[in-house]
Amino acid sequence: MTEFEKTDDSVVVIIGSGAGGGTVANELAKKGIKSVVLEAGKRLDSSDMENDEWTMFQKISWLDKRYSAGGWHGSVNHPNLPAWIVKGYGGSTVHWAGVALRFKEFEFKTRSTYGAVEGANVEDWPVSLEEMTPWYEKAEMKMGVTGKTTGMPHLPWNNGFRVLAEGCRRTGRTDYNSGPMAINSVENDDRPACQQIGFCMQGCAIGAKWSTMVTELPRAEDSGLSEIRTDAMALKIEHDASGKVTGVLYADAEGNQHLQKARVVCVAGNSIESPRLLLNSASEMFPDGLANSSGQVGKNYMCHTSTGIYAVMPEKVHMFRGTSVAGIVGDDVKHEPARGFNGGYYLEFLSLGLPFMGAFLEPGNTGWGRSFSRAMEQYDHMSGVWALGEDLAQEQNGVTLHGSEMDQHGLPVPIVAKTPHNNDHAMTAHMVESTSQIYESVGATDIYELPPYPASHNMGTNRMHADADKGVVNAYGQSHDIDNLFVSDGSQFTSSGACNPTLTIVALAIRQAEYIAQEMNAQNI
């Protein structure tokens, strides 16, 4: 494996190895551009992936100290787990379920579509669906997304989704299918076809699911042009007197600090660590943190309006057999103000294993007793969804630094605040009602509504905006303030859309790599 000198200031330093960082590294390598990826977690490969929920939670989750804050239930029930994301080689693409949906046109134009929303900070993206479409296609080809772009059929329907789909048919819905998924329905790109193992979110044990762990990172390394340095926790981005960034200070597994010089820095640590790093990089020249002249770094944190809904069916379902997210219902992804809320939502069939059902059916201190235990006894009769919809940006929701408590590296612990908007309450009620009607039409007896899980979709804390006063980065993820500093992850999202963010992160990363190459070649950065 290639190793670059820490004094080599010709490399692009990429912080994070997930959907954004891993993709940028491989795309840059294809263009002959050298990179060093600093990954805070350890090296992982498919052989580490076990079919066990708690074992994998302990093995791959980001468990460094964090606080949940704000009005959502997690500030009580998940006080130190605001987000459910991965620390390791491949980042949260190890954990993602493989849903590969595109934003709708109106979701890029939320301010124009919704107008000003009281209590929210809704803005338009500086890119449109038309502009993004070719990049979505490249992302779908790269990831092997089932559907028309690749010609790969959607996956076969499992028990749990067949129940949901029949309910959709009976209630007059038309937009439901077992894709698009970045899970191979047929052998593709040196990866096998899905064996319906389940445990997609515990890491695919055979590599049928796309992740940077199995594709982008090893290929970037094999090119000889990228070094993935694991157990390397970025602490601070350094800059010179002109304000250009010059390198990244990081800590290795033993806590020893090193400075990796850089020509360009791409921040891709997910929507908590990315703004945290920019804030922790404050200097005399940038007292509010790097790239923060707008004051928007760490603000507008979005994580999807969501709820889990599980229906007890008259016969056994065994929902855990097969892909974890086995089907998607898109009928409600539309902006229809008469419903009483802005934006739309998806219903995605999602299986939980018995352990996680026991943990998330009623999280917190109250999840026990006779009703709870009866619900658990109905486990094998359940089918259910994770409903997820547009979460409006609010300035009050965001990432701040603890005033006194430091982590193992001596950095202030992040506080992640999330308070739902009234839009969320109205949308959630609609989600539950729609889902109940769907399952009731197939004979559901009991329906259980679960509060939101710790967020795996984290967005918005370094958002894009055409106007440098209203956003942190431009349409290419390049910071408005510092030309050679980029944001490459979901924190650059201006709005959350209704869909899972990964495909858009990858599409933006491919596009950003092209832009970085162009700007480097032109000697602009």
């Binding site: 690749t150 790969m152 076969p156 057999r321």
Partner: protein, 197 residues
């Protein structure tokens, strides 16, 4: 958890005879619960608790996750023994547990004039416990029970959960799409046709 349409079943006797299936399961039970159960005959509910508190703890564990038709009493005894083993290792934990169980009985006496274990109505017993659900000792017992029941591979089959599948080649040939009360999904040919053009 909001329950939209919950049909309450009639209360059942919480102690129920040994099911053959559960007997086979418990003899195979792995890890901490096995050792705890084996030890429980001789070391049964010893040092950390005051006299009579072993029965209170056992009843409490059964009332936290009551599965009278799925689990037998010996399984709950194993969980109680694990709680005690953990308490033996730590003086403060033992005191919290002892004091907590005493408060449960005091609350039962205050409300019903009987010890907790002698309250016949399971909902009334749950009501007594709810008062203490945010206390550390309660949550310690609760999470011990959670892991011993819902994260126990030997108990999973009783709930119809099959767990790990990669070693069997996944569920692709093991019933991932075997239900008959709703229509089949589209065939491969139909799925292929749907993504063309």
């Amino acid at each position: 958890m909001n329950i939209r349409f919950h049909r309450q079943k009639k209360s059942k006797q919480d102690h129920i005879g040994v099911s053959r299936r559960m007997f086979l399961m418990t003899t195979a039970m792995a890890g901490v619960t096995t050792s705890a159960m084996l030890g429980s005959a001789t070391r049964s509910l010893a040092a950390p608790l005051d006299a009579g508190q072993d029965a209170t703890l056992l009843r409490m564990v059964q009332d936290i996750y009551p599965h009278p038709e799925l689990l037998e009493v010996s399984h709950y005894e194993g969980i109680a023994a694990t709680v005690i083993t953990n308490a033996e290792a730590d003086v403060a934990t033992a005191k919290d547990l002892r004091d907590g169980l005493a408060r449960i009985d005091a609350q039962a006496e205050a409300l019903f004039g009987t010890p907790y274990t002698e309250i016949a109505d399971p909902d009334a017993r749950e009501g007594v416990l709810r008062k203490f659900q945010h206390d550390g000792f309660f949550q310690g017992v609760r999470w011990t029970a959670y892991f011993a029941i819902y994260n126990n591979v030997d108990v999973w089959p009783l709930f119809g959960y099959q767990g790990s599948s990669v070693e069997y080649g996944g569920y692709i040939d093991r019933g991932f799409s075997d239900i008959t009360f709703v229509p089949q999904g589209p065939t491969l040919e139909e799925r292929m046709a749907a993504v063309k053009g």
